[in-house]
């Protein structure tokens, strides 16, 4: 089977600290996962999550801080609301809602993060390819 296309969207604060620590201690991460670092998961709206699926992601994981740790205030709550809404849309489209995952971390939880990422990668690989892979949009140059 073609390797799955996995996207992780990672908040710059606690989750990125975990990821950095995991890298420094040479913990292995799923090879099919691409990570985008953003300042806060609250920056990610429904459209950006949908776009990941439109562009062929088989699974998307949002890596965010715990609700009470957000450096800006409502970031993770915005994340929860967006995940709920996008999951409803994915369900209408017949895309398994489990392809969109949300996990929160404290800054010291590098081992748990690595475990969660491997779990995510294995679960999506077991699900197979995303049924809704459209032709790609031609982006403005």
């Amino acid at each position: 089977m073609k390797r799955p296309n996995l996207l992780g969207i990672c908040c710059n604060w606690s989750p990125w600290t975990c990821l950095n620590a995991a890298g420094r201690t040479n913990l292995e991460l799923p090879p099919d996962l691409r990570i985008i670092r953003v300042m806060c998961i609250g920056r990610i709206n429904q459209a950006l999550i949908l776009k990941a699926f439109e562009y062929g992601a088989d699974g998307v994981i949002l890596l965010e801080c715990r609700d009470e740790d957000c450096r800006y205030g409502p970031g993770p709550e915005v994340g929860h609301a967006n995940v709920t809404l996008v999951r409803s849309l994915l369900d209408l489209l017949g895309i398994d809602q489990q392809r969109l995952v949300e996990r929160s971390f404290e800054a010291h939880e590098k081992d748990r993060m690595v475990t969660e990422l491997w779990n995510f990668a294995e679960r999506i690989e077991a699900m197979g390819a995303n049924p809704a892979k459209p032709r790609q949009e031609r982006e403005a140059v």
């Binding site: 849309l89 459209p134 982006e139």
Partner: protein, 386 residues
């Protein structure tokens, strides 16, 4: 830019007939909302100054495509069609531009529907009281209603009520429509955003679904779906022989036959003509006729109504900006000037956009008015007589 193709677009749509009278610009809601925007100047640039690509591009992408300019044009220039074809041309050459509202979320899911393997889960809204059939010759096309219902839930807009009430009205007329599990979006927003390729894919997939189910007639309540399935789909699929019926037309015909009436509803309403229903499909009379059949209901027209109706501020979910908001506020002020207690419209997008403008906390009290779809209004009161 492909100059030969531009010339063809100009010839096909009578743009050389432009007299430079400027009525299009004077009527343009965007211009009246304060934006420097001129369809007349676009015509001039397309005809004689094609090297000003920056101007042409921005004008082509910024149009709301409400067709009011076309209505006012004394020479019969098909400006909307010029915009539509120029968008396809520019998109093919330079990529999709134009600011997509909601960051393009709607266009994303519409494009996702172009995957042939898609198995949607879109019929959760069908309540137990609705009578629908598994097979048959007549289908009801619910369009994007289930998706809008999720995406615009925060506006308090219930687009699924329109779908349910449409089926109720059909049931009342003894029609048990087929609801297709895998119908796609009609493609309106993709086509008007310049993405012709994906629009055509949606058309083909929809046509295949209709044919597979043995459908001969599609009933639609959304004016955009009506224009896409009825006018644009046969252009993509020449052998298309499916009859597309607008629910309002069907109702008007049935009510005229007699035997049906509406329960009295004492209220004053005003009616927002959706651009895709009025100017694009020429349907002005049916909604007014049907409103006139409700005893006790008084229809007060807005200052700009019928052929001159002002746009709800956006049509293909592109280029929603401060000027769109101005247009919406102006429109809502026209509504309150009529003294109507209820604003009736016939397009889910008018409902979404005008409800959005009403949420402005600074203007809320001045422009807020209950808004309902005509289909729901009719479904609540239709009954058999004698």
């Amino acid at each position: 830019m492909d100059s030969a193709r531009i010339t063809k677009i100009i010839r096909d749509n009578a743009l050389y007939q432009c007299l430079e009278c400027g009525k299009c610009s004077a009527a343009c809601p965007r211009m009246l909302a304060g934006k420097q925007y001129s369809p007349r100047l676009l015509a001039q640039k397309l005809i004689s100054e094609r090297d000003d690509e920056a101007f042409i591009e921005s004008s082509v992408w910024e149009c709301l495509t409400c067709s009011l300019c076309q209505e006012r044009c004394p020479s019969g220039v098909d400006i909307s069609r010029v915009i539509l074809e120029m968008r396809s041309l520019l998109a093919a050459e330079k990529g999709l531009k134009g600011y997509r509202a909601h960051d393009g979320a709607l266009h994303s899911w519409m494009r996702m529907m172009t995957s042939p393997e898609l198995k949607q889960n879109r019929l959760g809204w069908v309540s137990a009281d609705l009578k629908t059939a598994e097979t048959g010759k007549v289908a009801f096309f619910s369009g994007c209603a289930p998706y809008f219902d999720v995406f615009f839930a925060h506006l308090g807009v219930d687009t699924l009520a329109i779908a349910r009430d449409s089926v109720r009205l059909l049931n009342f007329l003894d029609i048990e429509p087929v609801l297709l599990k895998n119908e796609r979006c009609c493609g309106h927003d993709l086509l008007w955003a310049g993405d012709r390729e994906n629009f055509e894919t949606l058309c083909r997939l929809n046509y295949e679904e209709f044919k597979k189910a043995g459908i001969e007639e599609i009933i639609v309540s959304c004016p955009e779906c009506y224009s896409m399935l009825g006018t644009h789909m046969p252009e993509v699929i020449p052998e298309c022989d499916i009859k597309v019926t607008l629910l309002l037309d069907l109702l008007q015909k049935e009510v005229r036959k007699g035997g049906k009436a509406f329960k009295p509803f004492e209220t004053t309403v005003t009616y927002q003509d959706p651009c895709r229903l009025g100017r694009v499909s020429g349907c002005y009379e049916a909604p007014r006729y049907l409103l006139g059949q409700i005893p006790g209901l008084v229809l007060r027209e807005m200052e700009n109504s019928g052929r001159g109706a002002i746009c709800c501020g956006n049509s293909g979910f592109i280029n929603c900006d401060a000027y769109s908001k101005n247009i919406q506020v102006q429109r809502l002020q026209e509504v309150s000037a009529t003294g109507a207690q209820l604003l009736v419209t016939a397009c889910p997008k008018c409902m979404i956009h005008l409800s959005c403008a009403m949420r402005d906390p600074a203007r809320n009290e001045k422009v807020s008015v209950p808004i309902r779809d005509l289909t729901s209004l009719l479904a609540q009161g239709i009954e058999w007589t004698g």
